[in-house]
């Protein structure tokens, strides 16, 4: 009887498992295969009903990272980096600020909460359409100051071609190595603190090695035979504002739930010890919000890596200054008919998301499994 039920349970789960196995892993595998072929290089096959594909190895990836024209893809990666950075800072900062304000026993809290969170219910397409209108060069936000008698702003929100913080693409390995060195330094410091000397030593050596390699200009690795400038495209500021508008309510809700979870006794105890209200937040409340911040960073971070519809609606799919890999994949595949290169971009995007999500899934499920 029991075994029988178990079998039934498994059989009931099976359709979902099979569907996901095909739709997620099967299709990813297929895309990965396509990315290793020449689909699109030959016009007679590009849009054939059943194209004949030839294996070309990692050629499409090589092109993406070293090809002359794929400077656009590399700038897209830089765009995604800066977009993610400012989008996270904006949503986390604004969300936390609003949550703290709402935590002060304010009147009409529910009304404020509803207002702050409502954009989350909207489609990115709607948000993008609306903010595109808000950020018109000689209207919307730019003429707001006129309402109070000030001169209108002249900001070219979405159409500026200005690029700041330029750097050479060839210095990317140095930055990555420096970042990794910092991470190892932190790990070494933690290990030392917990008395694991050997581990601390290994991490220390790795730190020094990476730092030295970065400082000497990453010998042995040359990405491009010529300098290639990249930087932060200022046109993204408008897109960041719209994205923060849409999603800061989400972090507000997360943080508010977190703040409500901090026992009042803890706060009271700190106040008894003479902490100011600021001090209570600084030393008692905020440290407890670390895990929430991490979850929010990961959820929002993967959204921002995948951002597609918002930019489509705000700046158009083919506005190169506000391009990101998710859009370029679409353009490469369906405009230029170069499906293999589109697939390679998709796989790079998938790897970036996996880099963020897999450790997160591991750590958040590990606790449960032990339970």
């Amino acid at each position: 009887m029991r075994t029988n039920d178990r079998l039934v349970a498994f059989l009931m789960l099976l359709p979902s498992l099979v569907l996901l196995a095909i739709f997620v892993y099967g299709f990813i595998g297929r895309t990965a295969w396509v990315s290793l072929t020449n689909w699109g290089a030959d016009a007679t096959q590009a849009l054939a009903l059943n194209p004949e594909l030839a294996f070309v190895g990692l050629e499409n990836y090589r092109k993406l990272f070293t090809g002359l024209i794929d400077v656009r893809f590399r700038q897209d990666l830089v765009n995604t980096f800066f977009f993610t950075l400012f989008f996270l800072l904006g949503t986390l900062g604004l969300g936390l600020g609003l949550a703290i304000l709402l935590d002060q026993k304010v009147r009409f809290e529910a009304v404020f909460r509803t207002i702050f969170l409502f954009p989350f219910a909207l489609a990115f397409i709607v948000t993008g359409t609306v903010w595109r209108w808000m950020l018109q060069p000689s209207g919307g936000v730019n003429v707001l100051p006129e309402l109070v008698g000030l001169p209108a702003l002249e900001i070219r929100w979405l159409t500026t071609r200005e690029q700041i913080w330029q750097f050479d693409w060839n210095t990317v390995p140095a930055f990555l190595a420096a970042g990794a060195a910092l991470a190892f330094a932190y790990a070494a410091w933690r290990a030392w603190g917990t008395g694991r000397r050997v581990r601390a030593g290994v991490h220390g050596i790795l730190t020094l090695g990476l730092a030295g390699w970065a400082a000497t200009g990453t010998p042995g690795v040359t990405l491009l035979p010529y300098p290639e400038p990249h930087g932060f495209n200022v046109a993204f500021v408008g897109i960041v504002i719209a994205a923060v508008w849409q999603l800061s309510g989400y972090t507000m809700a997360l943080y508010l739930a977190g703040l409500r979870g901090v026992p009042e006794e803890l706060r009271e105890a700190a106040r008894v010890d003479g902490a100011s209200e600021f001090g209570v937040y600084r030393h008692v409340v905020l440290p407890l919000l670390g895990p929430i911040t991490l979850s929010a960073m990961i959820i929002l971070g993967h959204i921002s890596l995948k951002i597609f519809d918002l930019i489509w609606a705000m700046a158009g799919a083919d506005n190169a200054t506000t391009d990101v890999p998710a859009l370029l994949m679409y353009l490469r595949s369906f405009r230029a008919n170069r499906f293999a290169e589109g697939a390679a971009i998709a796989i790079v995007l998938l790897l970036m998301v996996a880099l963020v999500i897999v450790p997160y899934l591991r750590s958040s499920l590990k606790g449960e499994v032990r339970r």
């Binding site: 895309t31 000689s138 919307g140 489509w312 595949s333």
Partner: protein, 290 residues
């Protein structure tokens, strides 16, 4: 076993104790009002633009109230968008129902019928909700072509059901985990089998779980764009695609995209306003453990 057990401590109810006095309270309200302005200004702009005569929409007078109220924008937008709204409705309702029912069954199995390998299978399922869909797009429409569903709304529904499974399974699994195993054991003693337990015990307790999942899925599917733009044809287009085409196309009159935005936003906004509590719960459940 009641609603409390299902409530996994995610509500944002007000904190009762803890007094806060001070001379700076006005600053708190100033901050909140400033933020309110940030969130609501676009709404104001959308509404007044939608209500203006096309000729009265000039960039310089963006913020001015319309002199004559042009409700006609909505009539025109309705006419243009009615078929796509219907597509979105059929799509969101069917795909939500499908993924919620399957998700409920999966959640039940994964939380109450542990079997070897489940700890490996579950994270593999969850990963499916995070992937960038670009990574499955090309094989997806080849697959839909091969099964004859490309361009058909049914193909898009199937797609949303499948990619909705991870999140619905997750929410139901966490939800059912709160229901004590003892309840199931006593039902088993009474002779209930796999389906009996689900039908008699879990399903009746699932109402608020279903509400959370349905709201979440409906909103996600209604708002989705990438699948919608690549897997449909004119007659099966959802509203997001129609809106993107209208606004990103060559429309010079902004009243129509604005009225269209309002039409596209209303269903999910209504859900949010009426069922906000459950909405927030779904949103928090989205972060895997909640």
């Amino acid at each position: 076993m009641s609603a409390q057990a299902q409530d996994v401590g995610l509500d944002l109810g007000r904190r009762r104790s803890g007094g806060r006095r001070g001379r700076f309270r006005w600053m708190i309200y100033a901050g909140l009002l400033l933020a309110t302005a940030f969130y609501l200004l676009p709404v104001y702009l959308v509404v007044v633009t939608a209500l203006k005569e096309p000729a009265a929409i000039t960039l310089a007078d963006t913020w001015r109230l319309p002199e004559t109220w042009n409700w006609g924008s909505f009539a025109t937008a309705w006419e243009a968008f009615a078929p796509t709204l219907r597509n979105s409705l059929v799509l969101a309702v069917s795909a939500t129902a499908g993924s919620a029912l399957l998700g409920s069954m999966n959640g039940y199995i994964l939380s109450k019928w542990r079997f070897p390998g489940a700890n490996v299978v579950f994270p593999l399922m969850l990963f499916g909700m995070f992937i960038p869909y670009q990574a499955i797009l090309i094989p997806l429409f080849q697959f839909l072509r091969d099964v004859g569903l490309y361009g058909d709304l049914a193909g898009l529904i199937l797609t949303h059901v499948v990619y909705g499974l991870p999140i619905t399974t997750l929410i139901f699994r966490n939800f059912y985990a709160e229901i004590p195993d003892e309840m199931l054991d006593s039902a088993k003693i009474d002779g209930a089998g796999f389906f009996g337990i689900y039908a008699r015990i879990l399903f009746p307790l699932s109402v608020s779980g279903f509400v959370v999942v349905v709201i979440w899925q409906f909103t996600q599917i209604w708002n989705e764009f990438l699948f919608a733009v690549t897997l449909t044809r004119q007659e099966t287009q959802p509203i997001t695609v129609a809106l993107a085409n209208l606004a990103g196309g060559e429309a010079v009159n902004w009243n129509l995209p604005m009225a269209g935005s309002i039409l596209a936003a209303l269903p999910t906004l209504l859900i949010y306003i009426v069922l906000g509590r459950y909405f927030i719960r779904g949103l928090l459940a989205g972060s895997v453990k909640g």
